[in-house]
Amino acid sequence: MIRAFGWGEVLFIVWALRWTLALSAIAFIGGGICGLAVALARTSTSRALRLVTTGFIRLFQGTPLLMQLFLVYFGMSIFGLGIDPWAAAAVALSLHAAAFLAEIWRGCIEAIPPGQNEAATALGLTWGSRMRYVILPQAMKIAVAPTVGFLVQLVKGTSLAAIIGFTELTRSGQIISNATFQPFLVFSLVAGLYFVICWPLSFLASRLERRLARATAR
């Protein structure tokens, strides 16, 4: 039976956008928290911490996101955690985001002149205080633009979760396409919806970048 591609179908797809946004948000928050921890460990003086976190980053940057999704998805069922596309997608995308954000933020932390850390150390500030009051506030300013840029990648990356059966925007497109045999129309709509989310973010990222370039040129 072939369904027509009507308003009901359009609404079904648009409504699935909420899962794309929810998954993006979870991955961004989870990845942000882990990513900060990894970035701090990666820039620490402990060799062991640096090695472990460098390995983590290399692993996630050197394998396709789809494989990471597969491994977490099937890994969870092997370890008796059941088959849950939601949890698997959230965990895999969070780890993925953690690795990339950690690498972006490491660069921002290392861009702060070493004299800042030395002056704070000489004043007797502990590592925690140095990070919190001296290094991170300065690193954050330069981190904003590339972080928003990565968020765009992450939103688009959530589409791969469709393959493990998580019904977000892309998966709902597949469902409607299979029912209506109108793949071009359906996926045009899906792509358009991604664009509506991502384009303003890209625009924001490049504006922030220009603003920072002007601020540092002064």
Partner: protein, 267 residues
């Protein structure tokens, strides 16, 4: 009794150490490169030491070891009776007592002058905010920039920034001040205002170790001049003696070079 007096003159009976810094057999390597070779140096309380020597001779490394910005591989350093090598919280305790001023100021650019000055007293000494602000105002007045408290470092001249850096260090009430070429990054017309601040500090009785090639300052303030070369202390002498009759050939060569490149500073 002025504030300077109660810093340098402890009440009778208190066990204020007469030795501010004692370095014994200190050696330091960067990888396979030896930056300090068996350094022995004792700084008495209230003493002013000027360290000079050619570029790469280890001057910065020497003073950075005193507050353990650089760890050492051999020897011992005792600061204000606290043994840096003994572990525990000793490094932290020493850093609280030792102020440091850098060539490149290293003010925190995202904070106002006032916030630069009160951060460490509040976070390290747990001083209440109003007390920290009062202390900061006192020291900003002493370095002659009380009116700049609400500005950001980038809005100040180099000389003003360096004076803020001195005030920021003083806000921790340090017993010892370290200076690493504090005037080398400054435009010539701003050198004297920073040197004057340092001279005031010296006259108040502060214990000071200054890496500088400002010979006018050394003659006026230093009790002893330490001349370094290739990671070693080559000569230690009072300034008149060091400048008039250096006993080592390397020191003579060095003095000849800086007299050619540095104009004498008017006193």
């Amino acid at each position: 009794m002025s504030a300077a007096d109660d810093r340098s003159e402890q009440p009778a009976g208190s066990a204020a150490p007469l030795i501010a810094v004692r370095m014994q057999g200190v050696s330091k390597w960067f990888g396979s490169f030896q930056a300090l070779n068996k350094i022995d140096l004792t700084v008495r309380r209230g003493e002013k030491i000027v360290v000079c020597g050619p570029s790469g001779s280890g001057k910065s490394t020497l003073i950075r070891c005193i507050n353990q910005l650089e760890p050492i591989q051999a020897g011992s350093i005792v600061v204000d009776d606290i043994d840096l090598g003994a572990g525990g919280k000793n490094v932290q305790r020493v850093r609280r007592e030792v102020g440091m001023v850098f060539q490149s100021f290293n003010l925190f650019p995202h904070m106002t002058v006032m916030d630069n000055c009160i951060l460490a007293p509040m976070k390290v000494r747990n001083a209440p905010k109003d007390e920290a602000i009062a202390t900061a105002r006192k020291y900003l007045a002493r370095v002659h920039i009380p009116e700049q408290a609400d500005k950001y470092p980038a809005q100040l001249s180099g000389g003003q920034q360096q004076r803020v850096a001195i005030a920021r260090a003083l806000c921790m009430n340090p017993k010892i001040m370290l200076f690493d070429e504090p005037t080398s990054a400054l435009d010539p017309e701003m050198v004297q205002e920073v040197l004057d601040t340092m001279i005031d500090l010296a006259e108040e009785g502060m214990t000071m170790v200054c890496v500088t090639h400002e010979m006018g300052f050394a003659r006026r303030v230093a009790d002893r001049v330490v001349f370094m070369d290739h990671g070693e202390i080559v000569e230690v002498a009072p300034p008149e003696e060091f400048f008039e009759r250096p006993s080592h050939e390397r020191a003579r060569l060095f003095l000849g070079q800086i007299q050619r490149t540095h104009k004498p500073v008017p006193e």
